[in-house]
């Protein structure tokens, strides 16, 4: 940590600040220079062309871990008796495959690998939440890094990055399969008769745009709330011994409960992606 947090609010704020790299805005003492923001406010002032290095690096590492692990298994996949790791990977793959078969009615070779990537990647990002909140920031502080937000899915940039890509796929397949006219017709001519097209367009437009927003905010909100509770529990360690012991129990309980949320959110993100793509690939009447 860059500075020992003095008050609870500072401690919480510190934990919620990304390590943001960008250009200092005008009026700053380093105006026009590139560097790491020192506070959430500074990060905000850097505008769009800044990057949350912690979220980006951790999500990249987790994604690479996932791909390396699965590629490792895929390369030596045998048809004989599978080893433990292969067994696990095959179990996951079959689970995803069943989910896709259950929800996606068309034939699209993209959907299943997409779902696998989403599920495992989001799951790994969520699992970072189970690491006690102070460990990695403390290590980073030792290494001279001022801020570190450990859970990438706790960064709306990450969740929106996922959901907007999914949204782009939804638009792409909608137009590809139904044609631009068909897609627009679907937006304008239902649920009410054609003469009410503006109303239809409004309703359908809202429901269309709400897809990526709800997808990403659901994941972000759950992770944010979970992380916040971990941080609040961690605050209790600053109190006396009894309070710290109680906090330890609470943290254990919340972590166990949080495992459920972590899995559930990854699964929901994946399932909704499949459902949205299925809706995009189907002709409605």
């Amino acid at each position: 940590m860059s500075a020992a947090p003095e008050s609870s609010s500072e401690y919480i704020k510190h934990h919620l600040t990304n390590l943001t790299f960008g250009r200092f805005p005008a009026g700053h003492e380093h105006a026009g220079q590139w560097g790491f923001a020192h506070s959430m406010k500074e990060a905000g002032e850097m505008g769009f062309w800044a990057i949350n290095v912690d979220s980006m690096v951790i999500s990249l590492l987790l994604g690479l871990l996932f791909l390396w692990l699965f590629r490792h298994v895929a390369r030596r996949a045998t048809t004989g008796v599978p080893s433990g790791l292969q067994n696990f990977v095959e179990w996951v793959v079959e689970f995803i495959d069943n989910s896709v078969r259950g929800s996606f009615s068309g034939r699209n070779p993209l959907v299943a690998p997409l779902s696998l990537t989403i599920f495992i990647w989001v799951l790994l990002m969520n699992i970072m939440d189970l690491i006690p909140v102070d460990w990695l920031p403390w290590l980073a502080g030792m290494a001279g890094v001022g801020h570190l937000k450990v859970v990438p899915s706790n960064d709306p940039n990450i969740t929106f990055g996922l959901s907007l890509t999914v949204f782009a796929l939804v638009l792409y397949y909608s137009i590809k399969i139904k044609g631009l006219g068909g897609f627009l017709g679907e937006l304008a001519f239902q649920p009410f008769p054609k003469w009410m097209a503006p109303v239809n367009l409004l309703l359908e437009g809202v429901s269309l745009v709400s897809k990526p927003i709800s997808l990403s905010l659901r994941l972000f909100g759950n992770m944010y709330a979970g992380e916040m509770i971990f941080i609040l529990i961690a605050l209790m360690y600053g109190g006396n011994l009894a309070l710290a012991g109680f906090g330890g129990l609470l943290q254990l309980g919340w972590a166990i409960f949080h495992i459920l949320i972590i899995l559930l959110q990854a699964f929901i993100f994946m399932t909704l992606t499949i459902v949205y793509l299925d809706m995009a690939s189907q002709e409605h009447h």
């Binding site: 062309w49 895929a74 996949a77 993209l110 690998p113 990055g161």
Partner: protein, 156 residues
């Protein structure tokens, strides 16, 4: 919530990961799974076939055993019959042999008797000749009286 270029970075990373997964991860695993499924199905079918064949073999073995038992019983009964026959034959043969031996012995005895009678007859002739000589107190020419003697001998 500060939106910044992380959004774009994450999207690019996501697309790259999905592409990699779609190209290098998903297909080999699915292929392996499908192949294993096929192998297991084949194995199960083979096991079924084997069990069926074993059942057939067992039935066949039972049949063969049954037949063999029957044939063995048949052979035994035939052998017993044959044994009894052999005993019977031996008995009759023995009786015949005994009869034959008895007959031979009787013939021999008869021969002996005849020979003894011949010898006795000769002696009787000599004795009679000597007796007649003595009675006649005269010497008879053996050659002159040969016919007479022969006649005597034949009459005995």
């Amino acid at each position: 919530m500060n939106f910044n270029a992380t959004l774009i970075g994450q999207s690019i990373t996501f697309v790259a990961f999905v592409w990699f997964c779609m190209r290098f991860v998903w297909p080999p695993i699915m292929t392996a799974l499908a192949e294993r499924k096929e192998k297991i199905a084949e194995g199960l079918a083979a096991a079924d076939r084997g069990r069926h064949e074993q059942e057939l073999g067992q039935k066949r073995a039972l049949e063969i055993m049954h037949e063999a038992k029957q044939r063995a019983a048949e052979i035994i009964s035939r052998a017993e019959k044959r044994g009894a026959e052999i005993v019977e034959e031996a008995k009759t043969e023995a009786v015949e042999e005994g009869n034959r031996l008895k007959a031979a012995a009787q013939a021999e005895i008869e021969q002996e008797v005849n020979r003894a009678r011949e010898a006795l007859r000769g002696q009787v002739v000599e004795i009679a000749t000597a007796g007649a000589g003595r009675i006649l107190k005269r010497e008879l020419d053996a050659t002159a009286n040969d016919e007479l003697i022969k006649d005597l001998v034949a009459r005995i």
